[in-house]
């Protein structure tokens, strides 16, 4: 074969570059569709709901009159449920992930457990709702309370936290672990001083992604019987019926943001659609700000961790 002339080489490059350009354009187009859809959704809710963006909307309870109906019980309920979810899911998930990565022997049993954690992540959320209805609501007698809802969502996001914990731990180089063990540390000292702190950015990211998923869950919460119309807040610590305690609120009935939205969209009066759009926008902001916090924390904590 004869060597190519300069013109021929340029022609080959031009043909190759044309394909580059085509693929690049295609990629941008696909990305734009995805982004436009989400931006359009958010903008649509923001515009439709704009007349409800007043302080009253956040401070009013639900009402029969759309203009006076607010999301106070819903956002308070969502935050409290998230608090219970985080308190239950984070220690459990991190401990489980830590155990599987650092302590468990590699045998068929751990292998089955690992596979099934991935399976758990794929279980439809309504199934968690059914499970929780049987166990938390009736068997344990927690009732249709914040505690039941928080624990249900904790189960739901547990696989996410376990998987992200394990991935964060796996990203720590073996030489750090060896360096720690080589001076005579026990497994736990190695976990406590090194593995957990260095995995923390990744764990936190998983926790917040999990919570962001949980805050938008509707089906399991409806299944365990959250109220759709509620005009009071859970009792603040030490204010309920005597003997009032610090955690009385966990047994209070509640509603959450997605249920409030669902409730409003199912009303015949079209004025409630405005409420639904406004509440939808608020929920989006909650989720996006959780993600923003996750990104910020990850960036800040990773700055000091270099291998």
């Amino acid at each position: 074969m004869q060597p190519l002339t300069t013109e021929q080489i340029r022609a080959v490059i031009a043909r190759g570059k044309l394909r580059d350009t085509i693929f690049k354009a295609l990629g941008i187009f696909c990305l734009a569709i995805a982004l436009l859809v989400i931006v359009a959704l958010i903008a649509d809710m923001a515009i439709k709901g704009s007349e409800r963006f007043t302080l009253d909307f956040f401070l009013n309870f639900a009402s029969r009159r759309a203009a006076q109906a607010g999301i106070l019980s819903a956002w308070v309920g969502s935050l409290l449920v998230m608090l219970v979810t985080a308190l239950a899911a984070v220690p459990l998930g991190v401990a489980a992930g830590l155990y599987l990565e650092e302590y468990a022997k590699r045998n068929w049993l751990t292998h089955i457990i690992e596979v099934n954690i991935s399976n758990l992540a794929a279980v439809p959320s309504i199934v968690y709702g059914l499970l929780a209805l049987g166990i938390f609501v009736y068997q344990f007698g927690f009732g249709q309370s914040i505690l039941s809802a928080g624990l249900t969502l904790a189960l739901l996001i547990l696989p996410i936290i376990i998987v992200s914990t394990r991935e964060a731990i796996r990203a720590i180089p073996a030489m750090i672990r060896e360096g720690s063990m080589a001076v005579g540390a026990t497994r736990w000292q190695t976990c406590r001083y090194h593995i957990i702190p260095y995995a923390m950015p990744g764990i936190l990211t998983g926790v917040i992604i999990g919570l962001a998923r949980a805050i938008g869950e509707t089906a399991p919460i409806i299944t365990i019987g959250a109220l759709t119309f509620i005009a009071f807040l859970p009792p603040a610590p030490f204010t309920g019926e005597p003997p009032a305690g610090l955690f009385d609120w966990v047994f209070a009935p509640f509603t959450v943001m997605p249920i409030q939205i669902f409730n409003w969209t199912s009303r015949p009066d079209p004025a409630f659609e405005i409420n639904a759009a406004a509440a939808g926008f608020v929920l989006m902001v909650m989720v996006l700000s959780m993600n923003a916090v996750a990104i910020y924390l990850r960036y800040k904590m990773r700055k000091n961790i270099k291998w």
Partner: protein, 259 residues
Amino acid sequence: MQIHDNPALKAEARNLNFFYGEAKALKNINMPIYDKKVTALIGPSGCGKSTYLRSFNRMHDLYPGNRYEGEIRFFPDNTNLLSSEVDPIEVRMRVGMVFQKPNPFPKSIYENVAYGLRVRGENNKRVLDDKVEHALKGAAIWDEAKDRLSELASNLSGGQQQRLCIARALATDPELLLFDEPTSALDPIATAAIEELVHELKKRVTILIVTHNMQQAARVSDYTAYMYLGEMIEFGKTDEIFIKPKDKRTEDYITGRMG
């Protein structure tokens, strides 16, 4: 082997075999480690010298499927380091290790050195300060580090990081210090500093060093062992190994005909 002019024994491998699962990586190794001397392990890649080194602090116990046979006797108390009745953590408290690539923790310089002491339950600030300073001086990095003890260790250069890792190992006064190709990731100047340090350190601690670099073995060690395919081919005083090796394979290796 003439015993009479040799110094005291610090450790001795006796019929040591090691298995990664089914694969036999060390074959019937017998070798003395003399007290307050530097012993170098040389041999081509994959000959088992790192595997052998890592047996001395039971590093292999961290991973499943590894198995030892035989003994490593540790003196003066004549403990078998490999015995299943001896806790590997106890072994690592007596035997320090410096790794191939500097592996400081992503913490401050101070905390890196203090870690071994904290693991032993030492939390007294004055004791820690004292020992950290002593260890950093011992690793010849005190002058460079003394004004930046609270800085992250990753801000140090590679050579400084490696000396920091030596300080981390020294802080807990090990009886035996293992070096696993400590200079393979360093430039010649940093390498020279580490070699000088090894020379200095043998006054207080017994040293076992794996090296790829034969000149390094010749420069820093009193005794040299040549390993090949998991076997101990030849062990002797470094001058003797390098000047008149007894085994043909050792001669081929050190004259550069092999490996």
